[in-house]
Amino acid sequence: MGIRMNGSQLLCESLVREGVVEIFGLPGGAILPLYQTLPEYPQLRHILTRHEQGAAHAADGYARVTGKVGVCWATSGPGATNLITGIATAQMDSVPIVAVVGQVARASIGTDAFQETDTTGITLPITKHNTLVMDPAEIPQVVKEAFHIAGTGRPGPVVIDVPKDVQTEEVELPYDSFDEFYNALEIDLPGYKPNLKGHNSQIRKAVKLIDEAEQPVILAGHGIIFSGAYDELRELAEKAQIPVITTLLGISSFPDDHILCVGMPGMHGMAYASIAIEEADLLIALGMRFDDRITGKPSAFARKSKKIHIDIDPSEIGKNIEVDVPIVGDLKRVLTKLNPQVKETTHTDWLQRIEELKAEHPSHVIRDANQLLPQLIVKELSEVTGGDAVVVTGVGQHQMWAAQHFTYKYPCTFITSGGSGAMGYEVPGAMGVQVGVPDKAVWSVAGDGGFQMTMCELATIVENRLPVKFAIINNNVLGMVHQWQEFFYDKSYVATAYTANPDFVKLADAFGIKAMRVTDKVQVRGAIEEAMAHDGPVVIDFVVEEEERVYPMIKAGGTIEDLVEEPDFAPWEVAR
């Protein structure tokens, strides 16, 4: 009667019960007992990253593409602090990850011991929840609740901090098997009860506004993807003929090739999408949070419209923009109740107006140029893959071009660091995505800046035989910062030129990765096809025009009046 286990075994057993298969991590002193237990659990596959930031981003990418909770491990002190960028990224974009972090032994906590860091203190404002486990017997309960908190409601990261001697201490459980014990554990979180249903009378109010609207638009965000409400969104849009605008993280929640799709609005969004928001008489915001990159100046945003806001997180309602009808709930469930009550209608005039806007403001059209334009690379990538690929990006100009010029036809095929805007996401993020969907084509559209922040993970990619394809949009400059310097700092280009970029082809070669360099637009398609035909990872160094800018552009905190659609000069003739 009774089973004896140490803290590490309890943790691994619990992870197995939560359905964990892949763990991204890097060992160190304070988490060694846990690592030394891994061989007892062959069902847990550990992927050894080269940096803990890579582990956190990979767990994040894995979680986004699979919908499961991603897991990463790190040691105390620098291991924990290296996770921070990845944890903050997951928090800003509501991604469910559980980070298990080693801590110095209980008696040493608070003594500034070797590699001691106050991990729960540091991660408190960037996690959905975190826990320092001081008693090994509590580990299963903590793990069970961590996965529940991370994966339900508005998802988010949870950190479990485990002192080294808690990992080694043995405890006796009064059960015959761990299964029996784990199944008997009950989640005890009286302060955590996500409201999923949506209030019926609020839904009726929303239906009334939708039925009365003449110029409605849907703003679809990340929430559609988390909720898996693709069909429900499409049903609503088609039934009432409402154009759908997708936020950066809402891209691929609605097919880009659908007649009702209007694309991304905001700072670098399609001009017609931003204008449509301004002209609309009703905004139906679904699982999005009125980020400043969309609203610009909040007091001047979409003043003509009434607003319905459906979100699972009540604190998002009224945070940035006042709304008329808030509904708190899970989108799939709320839309399932709302859709049947909405009247079928056509909105012919309004849809015609949207077509006019698209014709008058063709933001998606790439101009003719002899140079190798980065936009063209994205477009070719879209055409060659037929949209049947997961695109992962870093942050900056290439991210915006990837958002603008790829035709996303299938759910959850665009993965990017939105809220946090973490450069360097493109390498480990793509790695985690490929681990999550091993049979899908994964394209990392990378910046030369971000790529260099995390390129150590190329070794992890080779080691684990992950066929990630990298399209480095190499302009030898921190492009978006460069663009801001041009617009807002009188072309004073301080610290943005990368004058000593490595030879990315040789670099990839050093990692044992197939690589190509493309400098002319006629080579683009062939290179992409060649990469697709190769069954391992590939790096393509696309050497592009340095002075290319992202348009349209609405300055930070601006309004629709600040919309700049095209350059008023040939950029590369001026700047040199």
């Binding site: 203190g121 404002p125 302060g191 996500p194 997180d313 604190s315 945070k319 708190v328």
Partner: protein, 187 residues
Amino acid sequence: MTTNGSTVQNHTITALVRDKPGVLNRVSSMFRRRGFNIVSLAVGHSEEPDLSRMTFVVEGDKRTIEQVNKHLHKLIDVIRVSEVSSDNVVSRELALIKIRATSETRSEIIQIVEIFNAKIAGVSPDHLIVEVTGDQDKIESLLGLVKRFGVMEVMRTGTIVMERWLGHLHDQQSGAKRRNWGEAASV
């Protein structure tokens, strides 16, 4: 003072929280991070084991207070949040005030203390320690009256409140503008 056209004033919010290490840190960190302004904060055990009750006096307009409520509720260890109006609650704060006192002023100070139903908690040759309980207004008025004698030190507990009726059971009858952020009970 106004922002966004609505008035900035003090609001009282109570929260029932789990009595676990770090909970106060989570709460205060949230206030700091989101730039909410705490006027006073009092924490103590509640009627239930393992649960504590916090009373916040927060300065802000209506929209800010709504966000404070929602973000408090978003914390996993916070179980219930309510905003209470001053109409139908008992609101108390305890203050200890060290007042400079000479043989000439001592009796006048004691008279004032008596009017306020306060107590002399300590006496020494050059000062008195006065213990006073009441709502914030009462303590402010006492402080105003004794200021001229020389206030050497003030220690205040922060306001705690309790509704006259059994809160959620008698919401309708009590007439207190108690707002239950039921929908906020999630993340």
